[in-house]
């Protein structure tokens, strides 16, 4: 407003004057501004500045022709195609992740009947699956208390494709840890298809025995537990535990005594 001096307010606001200079005003408003510009040199001067701005802004179109856009097209096409491929791949991965999540929640319900094992719930013994395997494997319930894991439940998995048992432990944080042991006769490779969200599975095979340790992710003892389980698998106990009670199921779990015919004193015969 300096052109007008301090005593007289500028007779038109900048938004209107810009619109006038840009040719956006029509009808009575335009005629009014025409009169104002003719009669007031200060308004005319500012309108001229805005008109010059408009001319220069429009001139940028020719001043910046971006002539290399023609050469840019092939690069653009390649880049856009690459981005689209990545978008599609990301979308496919996202869909796969959602499907896996859905499947895992369903599979979890099917294959893990007790995600939160109850101490008072009666469970079957590992011996229930005895007789299904061509090569019997001696397997002792691993005592994993050294890792803060206590056995709280065990169950056969009647709907599993192969004879299998599942031992449920609880770690120091109260999270369930699953040890699934199955016996295969062919080339079955997977012990467990999916794991619950936030869990990881460590699967391995020893002869006809498939083992899977499923634990919350980030647990540091996975490998050590695996070794301990291996020892349980390969080294049958010399003597049965007293009374045939499942040794690691402390906390008052009502675990059925193993069947002496199938369970050689704490060692399940698969």
């Amino acid at each position: 407003m300096s052109e007008c001096g301090p005593s007289r307010p500028f007779p038109v606001d900048d938004a209107t004057l810009v619109a006038y200079a840009d040719g956006m005003l029509r009808g009575a408003r335009r005629r009014r501004l025409d009169r104002l510009v003719r009669g007031d040199p200060a308004v005319a001067a500012r309108a001229a500045v805005y008109a010059e701005q408009r001319r220069r802004l429009g001139g940028l179109r020719t001043a910046l022709p971006m002539a290399d856009s023609v050469d840019f097209h092939p690069e653009l096409v390649a880049a856009v195609a690459d981005r689209l491929r990545r978008h599609r791949r990301t979308r496919r991965l996202a869909v796969a992740a959602v499907l896996a999540l859905l499947l895992s929640s369903g599979a979890l319900l099917r294959t893990m009947e007790t995600t939160r094992p109850s101490l008072g719930r009666p469970v079957a013994t590992a011996g229930d699956v005895a007789g299904h395997a061509a090569d019997a494997v001696r397997f002792q319930r691993p005592d994993l208390r050294a890792f803060g894991l206590r056995l709280v439940a065990e169950a056969t998995l009647p709907r599993a494709r192969v004879p299998a048992v599942r031992l449920v432990y609880e770690d120091a944080e109260g999270a369930p840890v699953y040890l699934v042991v199955g016996v295969v006769q062919g080339e079955e490779a997977e012990a467990i298809g999916t794991v619950p969200e936030g869990y990881v599975a460590l699967e391995w095979r020893r002869g006809p025995t498939l083992l899977a340790l499923v634990a919350p992710s980030g647990r540091p003892w996975m490998r050590d537990v695996m070794k301990e389980v291996e020892r349980s698998l390969l080294e049958p106990p010399a003597a049965p535990p007293p009374g045939g009670v499942v040794p690691a199921a402390d906390g008052g779990a009502a675990v059925e005594p193993p069947d002496p015919a199938a369970d050689d004193g704490g060692a399940a015969t698969l």
């Binding site: 810009v18 701005q53 220069r56 910046l64 971006m66 856009s69 653009l76 856009v80």
Partner: protein, 203 residues
Amino acid sequence: MKPPSKRIRDAAFPSTPRVRPSPAAPARAGIDQEMIAHIAALRRYALLLVGEAHDADDLVQEALARVLARTRSWTRVRDVRSYLFTTLHHVFIDAMRRRRHVRMAVDVDEIVDRLAVPAGQLDRLAWRDFVRALATIPAEQREVVLLVGMEGMSYAEAARVLGVPIGTVMSRLSRGREALRRLTHRGAPVRLRVVGRTRRDDP
């Protein structure tokens, strides 16, 4: 050269059938061609927005990728230019939020070096001042100033592109242009006059 649009489509959606042309919607191929016709404008706008050619091209590529990714369900686009600039605006906003790919300081020299203006020193300096002033104003004002002033959009079209009311466009535009005026206004030409006596005037 093979039409880029087909290459993009084939690479992206090999099994996607072409969109049938209809009176209400231009054919996909037509849209692609029109899109290509706007690439230079998009790149110019992006360059003046972010001030660096690679960042600008990144924005344009991302915008075009988004547009093409949506064209499978693209049945009615009445104004391809507005649609492209709207997408570019959204990409720019996203980039500003991330502040990862976009430098917020416009490189005036890079833009001035690209200017195809007459070689006159004064004119070049004037352009430099103008671009520098343009780079100084806030991005939201610069967007409106460029869309209306450089691209020649109406206020309504600029409002659609930016997703704001027309009143906001006018407000941002007037503030941006006023700022430009203050930054570039040099006032009346300086006149020199002799205030002392010259040697020749000495007795």
